[in-house]
């Protein structure tokens, strides 16, 4: 690969100043920063809702709030975390920044569309926040009918509008990535020379483009039913509530793969970089991403096993749900094999990656338990399910996001974060996370239902442990917020390739110039072409 040898060109961040240059930018790197700031703010809001919930759950009675308020809190937490943090996170922050760099292009295929995506996202978030702060929403992030259409008295329609609008942001981002990865790769960069991060983003983008429109139209119909009182999904008016659930979960199940696939891509990059080796079974991992995206569309009914769906359909969805675990397992085995006898440096990003592999595995396995019809009848709508998806989303995805942020921070900002604090934060997150969510598996299995704030006293010990863990987890999240910010002024200057990693993004300066590369890169080697290591002694 060609490397830059000229003196460092102006950084994308400092080449022009002023609010207008940021708010009217079409530079994918600046747009990534805009997204980073937005979703961080939204994460804090969603996290505050969770904090209030966990404080309330310290005691079995409804000590701090009434039912209505609690309903609003878990709804806010779910809606913001799913639609306004997890779904955008890695694709819009790390993806926007890195996709053109990793393929050797100057920008995405549609730079102005990229900026429009951010504005659309912000508009959607604005509607949602307005709904939240002028009365709230209490339907849960799942908006099940007929409660959302006929009974709820909260700001349902503005909330639906917020999600509907931000959905277009997802679709356009996915479209941009698909076209870019297909048509703008550098000379010599064939599909099987792509970094695994791009394979996973590609798969994610396919899901975004095909699934999000279905959710959009579903929310429109919910709004119509709410306003016009015509029975589309309300059984009292002649509608079928299961039809809503089908349409909702047709998006929302693939959406969870939108949320995890980018994290898997980051994990592949981190493991390769910090074992200084090719990822074991590169092609399997790459194709497994596509398989997850495809199979993920066939399993949505497993959210409806106890809702009254036909048993015939339930059986089919159950077996398909088992199948979708296979490509994920393939990835886990390949990551593990990559670690074996690698030259491992336990830097912060790798700590997060290791956490991802372990915690995602636990979360994924419990997904298999849930896929079994007989078990699901007992544990669905309990804290078992909550623990399952938090292990994947928080133990998996958020840790991958943090790992990726730490790994690419030098590239994005030109600064190094303090490594000691990084390791400390990673450890804090890991411990806090497990203390928060492992007790939830147990109490869910024992019968603690989800979305309840008044519960039998026998569950209190688990809730106390969980809240204690959550406070530790919060510290673990605050630490990077602080030291990342401080590093912008006081951090050590980063070289072009501080980790000694492969990948086109490391062949340009840190931070990159506005047009990414001075000379157009040409790719002539396989990905992760680290020098082969000798086996370790002993």
């Amino acid at each position: 690969m060609s490397a830059t040898t000229l003196p460092a060109p102006a950084s994308y961040a400092t080449v022009s100043y002023g609010l207008r240059s940021w708010l009217l930018t079409t530079d994918h790197k600046r747009i990534a920063i805009l997204y980073m700031i937005s979703i961080t703010v939204l994460f804090v809001i969603g996290g505050l809702a969770a904090t209030l919930m966990r404080v309330e759950l310290l005691t079995p009675g409804g000590r701090l709030m009434d039912d209505a308020t609690y309903n609003k809190l878990f709804s806010v937490h779910g809606i913001i975390m799913v639609f306004f943090f997890l779904i955008p996170s890695i694709p819009t922050v790390l993806g926007n920044f890195l996709v053109p760099l990793m393929i050797g292009a100057r920008d995405l295929a549609f730079p102005r569309l990229n900026l429009a995506s951010w504005y659309i996202f912000m508009l959607g978030a604005a509607f949602m926040l307005w709904a939240i702060f002028t009365g709230g929403i209490d339907t849960g992030w799942t908006f099940y009918t007929p409660f959302s259409t006929s009974s709820s008295t909260t700001k349902v329609v503005p909330a639906l509008l917020g999600i509907f609008i931000s959905g277009f942001s997802s679709i356009l981002t996915g479209l941009n990535f698909i076209v870019t990865i297909h048509r703008m790769r550098a000379p010599g960069l064939t599909w099987f020379r792509l970094p695994l991060f791009l394979w996973s983003l590609y798969a994610t983008s396919v899901i975004l483009v095909l699934a999000t429109p279905v959710l959009g139209m579903t929310l429109v119909l919910v709004a119509l039913e709410r306003v016009l009182h015509v029975g589309i999904f309300d059984p009292a008016l002649g509608g079928d509530p299961l039809l809503f659930q089908h349409m909702f979960w047709f998006y929302s199940h693939p959406a969870v793969y939108v949320m995890i696939l980018p994290g898997m891509g980051v994990t592949s990059e981190l493991i390769a970089a910090f074992t200084h080796r090719q990822v074991f079974g590169y092609r399997f991992v790459a194709l497994a991403s596509v398989a997850i995206a495809v199979l993920g569309f066939l399993v949505w009914g497993h959210h409806m096993f106890v809702a009254g769906m036909s048993v015939h359909a339930a059986l089919i969805f159950s077996i398909l749900s088992y199948l979708v675990a296979i490509p994920s397992a393939i990835k886990v085995f390949n990551w593990t094999a990559s670690l074996h006898r690698g030259a491992i440096s336990l830097d912060t990003p790798l700590l997060y990656a290791l956490g991802f592999v372990g915690l995602f595995t636990i979360g994924g396995l419990t997904g298999l338990f849930l896929a079994a019809l007989a078990i699901d009848v007992h544990v669905t709508d309990t804290y078992f399910v909550i623990a399952h998806f938090h292990y994947i989303m928080v133990g998996g995805m958020v840790m991958a996001y943090l790992g990726g942020l730490h790994y690419w921070w030098p590239k994005i900002t030109g600064r190094l974060y303090p490594e000691i604090w990084g390791k400390l934060a990673a450890l804090t997150v890991f411990l806090g996370f497990n203390l928060t969510f492992f007790p939830q598996y147990i109490m869910g299995y024992l019968g603690m239902p989800r979305r309840y704030h008044v519960y039998p006293a026998e569950f209190q010990v688990f809730h106390v442990l969980s809240t204690a863990g959550a406070s530790i987890l919060a510290v673990g999240y605050l630490l990077p917020l602080v030291y990342f910010l401080l590093s912008l002024w006081h951090g050590q200057q980063a070289t072009a390739n501080p980790w000694g990693a492969t990948g086109l993004e490391w062949q340009t300066s840190s931070p990159p110039p506005p047009h990414n590369f001075v000379d157009k890169p040409v790719v002539t080697s396989e990905p992760y072409n680290y020098p082969t290591r000798e086996p370790a002694h002993g």
């Binding site: 679709i171 139209m217 429109v220 509608g239 039809l243 089908h246 157009k520």
Partner: protein
């Protein structure tokens, strides 16, 4: 934006990979955006982008088609009754109008490619007029429905045992044709912009590709209607 003029020199001796197509030009044509290498890459990207977008639009409509199908299988008589209240003549005329507008769009594309500066705006204008005619006829249909008290949620009165299901039919009818009309309106809007460009001599020859993208979109809108028409209008007619 200060960095606009900083372009990658096309003079580097870098061979392009197959698939990116074309040779690296010594001078960049003015129509070529700075983040692309060749015009062919730019056209390919734009066409692919439009197709991917249409794929997502298919899922958008697909959701409504699915809900409609599920309910029609459940309430066949009520849906047949509702369908018979639709004006088949106006619906049929509208179908013809849209098909001919698609023809106009195809002819517009062809004259753009041929560099026929006088015919391009004429064909575009005809397509736009036919599109507006479609919307007008649709509006007329809606007006008739309103007069017959067939507006779900607002003013719906239907005598008969299956009134609730007929109302559901009409809600889905409005949702599906309404969504289609919104798409057609957007297409007409873009076509008007293209008309303005064509009037001033643009969109000819190598620069015709925005029109090609609009053509893809217009054809898609037509295809959707060609499925909406039998689904909604041709139920229970014998």
């Amino acid at each position: 934006m200060a960095e606009r003029r900083t372009t990658l020199s096309g003079r580097s001796a870098v061979p392009t990979a197959p698939g990116l197509g074309g040779h690296v030009a010594a001078e960049r044509p003015p129509a070529l955006a700075e983040h692309f290498e060749t015009l062919e890459q730019q056209h390919g990207v734009n066409a692919l982008g439009m197709l991917v977008f249409l794929g997502s639009e298919l899922m958008f409509f697909g959701m409504l088609f699915t809900v409609y199908t599920a309910y029609r299988l459940r309430y066949p008589e009520a849906f047949a009754m509702g369908s018979r209240h639709l004006d088949l003549a106006l619906g049929g005329i509208n179908t013809a109008v849209l098909i001919i507008s698609t023809l106009m769009m195809a002819l517009a594309e062809h004259s753009a490619l041929r560099g026929e500066r006088r015919w391009l705006p004429r064909y575009l204008a005809l397509a736009i007029l036919l599109g507006l005619l479609f919307l007008g006829i649709k509006g007329l249909e809606y007006y008739h429905h309103a007069q017959e008290q067939l507006l779900p949620g607002f003013a719906f009165s239907f005598s008969g045992p299956a009134a609730e299901q007929v109302q559901l039919f009409f809600l889905l009818y409005y949702a599906m044709t309404g969504l289609h009309a919104v798409h057609l309106t957007a297409g007409i809007g873009v076509a008007c912009v293209m008309l303005a460009l064509a009037w001033r001599g643009g969109l000819l020859g190598a620069e015709h590709w925005p029109l090609e993208m609009l053509g893809l979109y217009w054809n898609f809108v037509d295809i959707i209607w060609l499925f909406l028409f039998p689904l909604l209008y041709l139920v229970g007619r014998p």
